[in-house]
């Protein structure tokens, strides 16, 4: 038993990403088509050149037919996947393994979510018949429970922690303001964010990711032939996934100040990529900032900060756009909103732009230097105590 990974065996050769918006005038078909066409164009292929497709959508359509019909694919294998909010990443993971196995030469992952047709704000999970005893809480409520637990454990005064959380949101808004694909493009100061009323625990709406419709897509091929499609392929160094057993909701040993699924996922991802010291190799990260306490804790789970010290690194600006390790240079979920099936691929799209030097100048990172030339994307689904975690590590160089 081992997690061997597929380091440098497949490469992304084309990507597309729609603007993330409240697309009142676009449906699932429109969004998937737009992201796919951009990816086809980037790789210089047609839909017929792609041998197999993976569609990631949490609840905007069932079966591969959702994509086959939208793109009018003829006789292609199309698989719909769902893995909570890591659905888009899961589509890329399956497509990558299919190519690495030799089963197909060219595979495509398309993530899409049409959230804004529900008539409600926020994300609303598809109800599965149950005994009525499962907890009813918004995602904001669930993640907000991390803040008092963290403050208590590490002796950080709640007022200080609130400021740190606001700084995370402010940083992501700063980055998103420089991204035309982002939904929210207004900078927000720490003071403005701190002045907002709480909606769940100590979180205000500005501690929460928005909700948007959107789609993103990636085309993957074997690494050795990647240059036939583009001069600057992005190589997959690691794809790690952990599905928790939900024990955090049951086991008093879990203290709500970290996410064990993510710590395990990170260890596996670094091992797959052959990374001993993440700080010396990772030049940027796109992480799942669904709520500000999530990003706080992720800095520790991803080994970017020591336990109990992420809040200090955040305050020191280490994860800012111009910092040592920019986190969410595209603005993150905070600025983009969260079309569930698309978000994981949207993160990779930013890595694709930054690693290829294609990000616009006003949000281009300057942290890539020497061996520190890798990008990490982290995508989670579920809730503290009960989550799935995905991590990819990507790089523009082989080896």
């Amino acid at each position: 038993m081992a997690s061997h990974g597929i380091k440098d065996r497949v490469a992304i050769v084309g990507m597309g990403c729609t603007p993330f918006r409240e697309h009142w005038d676009k449906g699932v078909d429109d969004l998937a088509l737009e992201a796919s066409q951009e990816a086809f164009a980037a790789a210089g292929v047609t839909k017929d050149d792609v041998d197999a497709y993976w569609l990631g959508t949490a609840q905007s359509g069932m079966s591969g037919i959702t994509l086959a019909r939208a793109l009018q694919l003829q006789g292609k294998p199309v698989t719909r996947v769902e893995n909570y909010c890591a659905t888009g990443s899961e589509a890329l993971r399956q497509a990558s393994y299919a190519v690495a196995s030799g089963a197909y030469d060219v595979a495509m992952a398309v993530g899409v979510e049409k959230v804004k047709d529900s008539g409600y704000q926020g994300l609303n999970a598809f109800p599965i018949p149950n005994d009525g005893t499962t907890r009813t809480l918004t995602a904001a409520g669930s993640f907000s429970m991390v803040a008092p637990a963290y403050a208590e454990k590490y002796g950080v005064p709640m007022e200080q922690l609130k400021r740190t959380l606001a700084r995370i949101a402010s940083k992501n808004h700063h980055n998103g303001a420089r991204n035309p694909r982002a939904q929210f493009r207004r900078e927000m100061s720490v003071e403005q964010i701190c002045a907002m009323p709480n909606v769940a625990g100590d979180l205000s709406v500005f501690d929460c990711a928005g909700v948007a419709d959107g789609s993103a897509a990636a085309i993957v091929v074997r690494a050795e032939g990647a240059h036939r499609y583009t001069d600057t392929p992005i190589y997959v160094k690691a794809l790690s996934f952990v599905a928790g057993n939900g024990s955090g909701l049951v086991d008093p040993g879990y203290d709500y100040t970290w996410f064990p699924e993510i710590a395990a996922c990170a260890a596996d991802a670094y091992a797959q990529a052959g990374i001993d010291d993440p700080a010396s190799r990772i030049a940027m990260a796109e992480v799942h900032d669904c709520f500000t306490p999530t990003e706080l804790v992720l800095m520790e789970d991803l080994q970017f900060s020591e336990r109990g010290h992420a809040w200090e690194d955040i305050e020191a600006g280490r994860f800012d756009l111009g910092g040592d390790l920019p986190v969410n240079p595209d603005g993150g979920l905070k600025s983009f909103g969260h079309p569930v099936g698309a978000s994981g691929l949207r993160m990779m799209f930013e890595a694709w732009l930054q690693l290829r030097g294609e990000a616009p100048e006003d949000r281009r990172i300057s942290s890539i230097a020497g061996d520190r030339n890798l990008a990490l994307t982290h995508n989670l689904g579920g809730y503290p105590g009960e989550m799935v975690s995905f991590i990819s590590i990507l790089g523009a160089e082989l080896g």
Binding site: S118, Y120, Q121, G122, N124, P127, P129, N130, D131, G132, T133, R135, T136, L137, T138, A140, G141, S142, S144, M145, V146, P148, A149, E152, N198, V199, A200, G201, N245, S247, L249, V250, D251, P252, Y254, D255, Y256, G385
Partner: protein, 472 residues
């Protein structure tokens, strides 16, 4: 010897200050407070709480459960079965409703006292009326339970020594099924009918017991006709000082639950060898004469009526109206919850109704909800059931969710770690959101989470521990 083996009562946490009514309703109100069942309570959940407290001080277990209310959560479907499930009573124990009229409460008690075996008699009521009405102010919400049986499994603390009844058909108070208020004929008419039948029932019961009225140590007069109750007490021949306080100033009149509640109140302070008379006025009158035994000296009720009456927290009149369906505030703009699945609920009956988890026999790890596979060590189907409803816990972390759907936002939610092991993410109730802290102590309470498609979704919540644990 047959009589009462144990008893327990439940007063909901919230209190309506009657002086706040008139400012909104334009009329009505008065002095003092009344108890108010929470938005997540109904007569079934309150019955569960009173019944749990009744079984706590005694090892005796009933082989019959009779549940009486005039505000049933369901008709067609029995409500007593949910109480039976929450108490984890064996399948062989019968559980049924005796409902419809206020008189059903005392009738259930008479039947149990006249029957055999150990029988649990539970009554619960939620009383209200139109805004500003006398019934709205005078009513109260409560539940009471009495465990009736023979000296055997457990000692009788109050023996039945006499009984008398007088039945009379006349129209004093009535309600058509579906109406949310009752109506009353001119009060004086009812009084002319109630007083003579009540005195007759009392006389018959005292004669049955061979006791004179002046030997009565405590007289409970219960009934929704307040004026008649007072007149009967006055003319009963029992010294006015021995008439048990009807709790009108703090609790209000909880209808079908009033006889049980006031009898419990009398038992709370009774010494051995005392004579307690329960006289109820409802469509006639019924009188029961009890004599306390030596066993009452060592009987410790889970929580006395006086302790509960003195506790509680205020509820604004607007919330009272909303909770009783007389005011409809804007709900959160979130989807309403889906109805629970009958088959899924049946599969997890002990968990859903009894809060029974599973304990890994090898590692001791407690699983809430029960799991077939252990989270520690991975053993399969090697668990034993572990009832957790009476285990207190501590808040590990918490939140106040103003976004999520609730019949009465916001939702206060906590991760609760139970004493001796086990954790559950659980909603809090009867709590001031601003006062919740990590480390707070909580206990479990049976509640109605929501109603969807007419299905009441019952499960457990946690509330701040009602009273400090008594020193052993």
């Amino acid at each position: 010897m047959r009589g009462i083996i144990s008893y327990g009562t439940y007063l909901p946490h919230r209190r309506l200050d009657r002086s706040t009514i008139a400012a909104v309703a334009g009329t009505g109100g008065g002095k003092g407070t009344r108890t108010v069942a929470s938005y997540d309570e109904d007569t079934t959940t309150m019955a569960v709480e009173a019944a749990r407290r009744t079984l706590r001080p005694t090892p005796a277990r009933p082989d019959a459960l009779w549940f009486s209310t005039v505000a049933p959560a369901y008709v067609d479907k029995a409500n007593a079965t949910a109480v039976h499930a929450a108490l984890l009573l064996p399948t062989e124990a019968i559980a049924a409703d005796l409902g419809g009229s206020v008189r059903s409460g005392i009738a259930a008690l008479r039947l149990a006292l006249g029957g055999s075996g150990t029988q649990l008699v539970v009554s619960a009521d939620i009383r209200t009326g139109l805004p500003g009405s006398a019934d709205e102010a005078a009513g109260g919400d409560a539940a009471a339970a009495l465990l009736v049986g023979d000296d055997g499994d457990a000692p009788v603390i109050a023996e039945l020594v006499g009984a008398g009844s007088a039945t009379d058909e006349f129209l004093d108070r009535w309600r058509t099924p579906g109406d949310d208020r009752s109506k009353q004929w001119e009060e004086k008419f009812g009084e002319t009918r109630y007083v003579p039948v009540a005195l007759a029932a009392l006389a018959a019961a005292l004669a049955d017991a061979g006791i004179d009225a002046d030997r009565v140590d405590a007289l409970v007069v219960a009934g929704l006709h307040g004026r008649a109750c007072k007149a009967v007490a006055k003319r009963s021949g029992v010294d006015g000082a021995k008439v048990v306080d009807d709790l009108a100033a703090t609790v209000g009149n909880p209808g079908a639950a009033q006889p049980g509640l006031l009898l419990a109140s009398a038992l709370d302070t009774a010494a051995p060898g005392q004579v307690i008379v329960l006289l109820t006025l409802s469509d006639g009158a019924d009188a029961l004469v009890f004599r306390t035994t030596d066993a009452i000296a060592s009987f410790e009720p889970a929580l006395s009526v006086a302790e509960q009456a003195a506790a509680g927290a205020p509820l604004p009149y607007g919330k009272f109206l909303a909770w009783r369906g007389h005011l409809t505030p804007e709900p959160p703009r979130r989807p309403e919850p889906a109805r629970p699945s009958a088959s899924a609920a049946a599969r997890s009956e002990d968990w859903k109704y009894g809060f029974v988890g599973a304990k890994d026999r090898a590692t001791g790890a407690i699983h809430l909800p029960p799991s077939r596979v252990s989270m520690e060590g991975g053993a399969v189907d090697d668990m034993e059931p572990i009832p957790m409803a009476d285990v207190a816990g501590t808040i590990a972390t918490y939140t106040i969710d103003k976004l999520v759907y609730s019949p009465s936002p916001p939702v206060v939610f906590a991760i609760v770690d139970f004493d001796g092991g086990g954790r559950a993410p659980i909603e809090l109730t009867d709590v001031d959101p601003a006062a919740v802290r990590i480390g707070d102590r909580v206990e479990m309470t049976f509640r109605r989470l929501f109603t969807s498609d007419g299905i009441h979704n019952y499960f457990w919540k946690a509330r701040p521990v009602a009273a400090p644990a008594k020193e052993a």
